[in-house]
Amino acid sequence: MNLGTRKLLDQSFTALGIGSIVIMGMMLLVVLVPILTNGISANVFKGTIEHRRMQYNEFHRGDRDALQREISEAAATRKTAYDMMSTFEAELNQMDEVKQAEYRDKYNQVKDAVKSLLGPKPGDELPELTRFRYGQTRWEKAQERLREVLYEKKWDYSNPDIAAKEYLVSRAESFQGTSLVKLFPYVETNIDRMLLPKWTIYWGFIFDSSIDSHIFGGIWPEIQGTMFLAIGAMLFAFPLGVIAAIYFTEYAREGFFNSLLRSANSTLAGVPSIVFGLFGLAFFINTLKVSESKSVIAGSLTLAIMILPTIIRSAEEAILAVPKTYREASLGLGSTKWNTIVTVILPAALPGILTGGVISLGRAAGETAPIIFTAAVSVGSAIGLADVFNSPTPALSWNIYNLASEHEAASEIRHVQYGMVLALVTIVLLLNLTAIILRARISKKLKG
């Protein structure tokens, strides 16, 4: 091959490597950017009068008089719409059997759509579930509902080879010739005045507990549960891991037994996280009976054994990175071994040990599989510190799964799911950032 081609090959090789790295960076962005933008929308959004009404009723927030004024303002606009509907209902009752059957069904769809948009009609009985007591609290959701009021969704099955296609039919057309026709343009033009959207910053999303399984309210129980679990895991794993690392680096003699212990450590690091969950269930709950059933303590213990190998490894590395000369200097001054470890080696290794600890804390906060069987429940309020020994807790990681995959209105509460993901990712990345900064400071210190 001539030199030109060799150079070309060389450069394409470089390009391949750089390309891979760029793709990794892009992947990070592709994952983080939508989580960030959509997650923020859980806190900052255009809230409707329904949101303010809900906040006042459920959380006692807001100015009563101003709210009253807004409600009556909206009610005035809404009344016209309700009047149109009553007029049509009267008209419907006058129709002959065939026509009535045709329109009754369609009208009920409209009625449901309007109810979901604006909430129950004044004077109606208050529904049992909180989610049905209010109209749309978020403006973008209200607009989706508005489309449902205006259009009927239909499916096109004509081509059997491909998946069915959805198309829209205007309801105004299907009610042509009845008095209800006027309703649709009226709602469309006056939707602003019916719902009075306003930019809202809802910090309560972080600090409120949830209402009616996350249809309304915030995610504090999850955040708190995650913190309890992660910190609990650290309380067990950190001292254990650091002491084990001291043993491995300072006391263990080379030999069969020691290499066995090391193998055990890397085996533990390789165990799939779901198996930790099984073990936690079989051992901590079913055998040791640390609690009746799922509990924070059982989850913390399970997470603790999961992060133990990481803590041991990073602590070992940090201790081994302490120059041998410190050890010699200290011993040469007449210090005992243990004293040397406590007064010289551990302080010098501390930033490195903490780095590993902080990263492990993030890992414990983010893991889901080990807590599924041991600690997590999908709904529940924030638990007190005294309850950690006997009650399970909601946790961010588990509830993200639960809300996204098993919640009956999963696609209605995407903003809550995004908000939770953002909260979790923020916690984990902040911890990792701390670790990166810690490490940067160590290397600066070592350089002098």
Binding site: L16, S266, V421
Partner: protein, 387 residues
């Protein structure tokens, strides 16, 4: 005793202590060391306990149902009466997404590791490392959410075009390179300079045409594909590959770094280009470490739960044809996570124990691969240190 005690006399021999004191010193030291040892040994105890307790709940399943059905049948109807526990399709699903993610992550990971250790200047590397660390730190459930809520609808709605564009972007540079190298190789035998140039140009246009036809043909066919469901093996493989990448990159990079400077400089001094040095000298020297990295990365994919649970579709069947990554699959981890809620723990039915059997299977696989990768790393270290 007394005679020994009296040894400690005079100012200068202050470093000699009484026998009693020495004994106490030794005993305290022993006790302290044993206490430390006990703490360190908890790691081993935990590993033994994990094996024991998972196996303890797995054995009843095999006692009731035997081995054959579990490993050979793919009828998974644990809730039926009579229940059927054929896990082959589930095991296959695990293998499939693991293989898929490895297919993406291994070449990318090794390329990125080489790039990090040999190509990128140190100042840039400082900024790349945190990116990899952040990718490793993102919780699996966040990746799962991304796969379910963003990637799955994208694949379902724009699957064909996405596949086509991916093919175009990835294949065109490779094909271009292949065309140039191929025509160079074919025309190498021609001695005369002038003739060779002409022949080379002809070959380039000839191979180029073939390559273009290939590009368009495959691209067109890909575009026509309709993906029925976005929660499929492809989706999961892509996401898993990005979760395995950080492991592969950082462990391979360590292995590459362990190959010393002098080996590299020796090769450069002989006039080799960087790519040649890396491929012929460094990669072989670091190969076992890279293999260990690959094993660890694959284990990460195999053991991952949340992503596959949320985005694989959880359909317990073997895709048709067997390599069809556009169909839903179900994996061991997702089955354990998903079925535990319905399994009856109290009476300890086969339905409960089968999940532990799956856990035991995962545990054994992870143990073996871990063992292998550790052996490999130890061997490489020995070779590199010249023993």
């Amino acid at each position: 005793m007394n005679g020994e005690d009296s040894v400690a006399t005079g100012r200068s021999s202050a470093f000699v202590v009484t026998a009693k004191k020495r004994k106490i010193q030794q005993i305290t030291r022993k006790i302290g060391e044993s206490a430390l040892f006990l703490v360190a040994a908890t790691v081993a105890i935990i590993v033994i306990f994990i094996f024991f307790f998972v196996a303890r709940d797995a054995v009843p399943f095999f006692e009731i149902r035997g081995f054959r059905e579990f490993f050979t049948s793919s009828d998974w109807y644990p809730a039926d009466d009579p229940p059927r526990f054929g896990a082959w399709a589930i095991i296959y699903g695990s293998l499939m997404v693991t293989a898929g993610s490895a297919l993406i992550a291994v070449p990318m990971g090794i390329a990125a590791a080489i790039c990090l250790s040999d190509v990128i200047p140190f100042s840039v590397r400082q900024y790349v490392k945190p990116v990899i660390e952040m990718l490793a730190a993102i919780p699996s459930v966040a990746f799962g959410f991304f796969a379910l809520v963003i990637l799955a609808p994208l694949l379902q709605n724009y699957g064909g075009p996405i596949l086509m564009w991916t093919w175009w972007i990835i294949a065109s540079p490779f094909l271009l390179l292949a065309v140039i190298v191929l025509s160079e190789l074919v025309s190498m035998s021609i001695q005369d300079d002038k003739h060779r140039k002409i022949a080379q140009r002809m070959y380039v246009s000839f191979f180029g045409l073939i390559a273009l036809i290939l590009l368009f043909f495959v691209g067109n066919n890909l575009q026509k594909i309709e993906i029925m469901t976005g929660t499929n093996a492809l989706n999961v493989s892509i996401i898993l590959s990005f979760m395995a990448l950080p492991t592969i990159v950082s462990v391979s990079e360590d292995a590459l770094q362990a190959v010393g400077r002098d080996l590299r400089e020796g090769s450069y001094a002989l006039g080799a280009t960087r790519a040649e040095t890396i491929i012929k000298i460094i990669l072989p020297a670091a190969s076992s470490g890279i293999l260990a990295a690959v094993i660890l990365g694959i284990m990460r994919s195999l053991g991952e739960t949340m992503v596959v649970w949320m985005a694989s579709g959880n359909a317990s069947h073997i895709p048709d044809p067997w390599f069809n990554y556009l169909e839903s699959v179900r994996t061991l981890t997702a089955t354990i996570a998903g079925d535990m809620g319905e399994a009856d723990q109290v009476t300890g039915s086969a339905r409960f124990h089968v999940l532990f059997a799956m856990g035991l299977l995962l545990l054994v696989i992870s143990f073996i691969s871990n063992f292998i990768s550790e052996r490999i790393v130890v061997r490489q270290r020995k070779i590199l240190s010249g023993q």
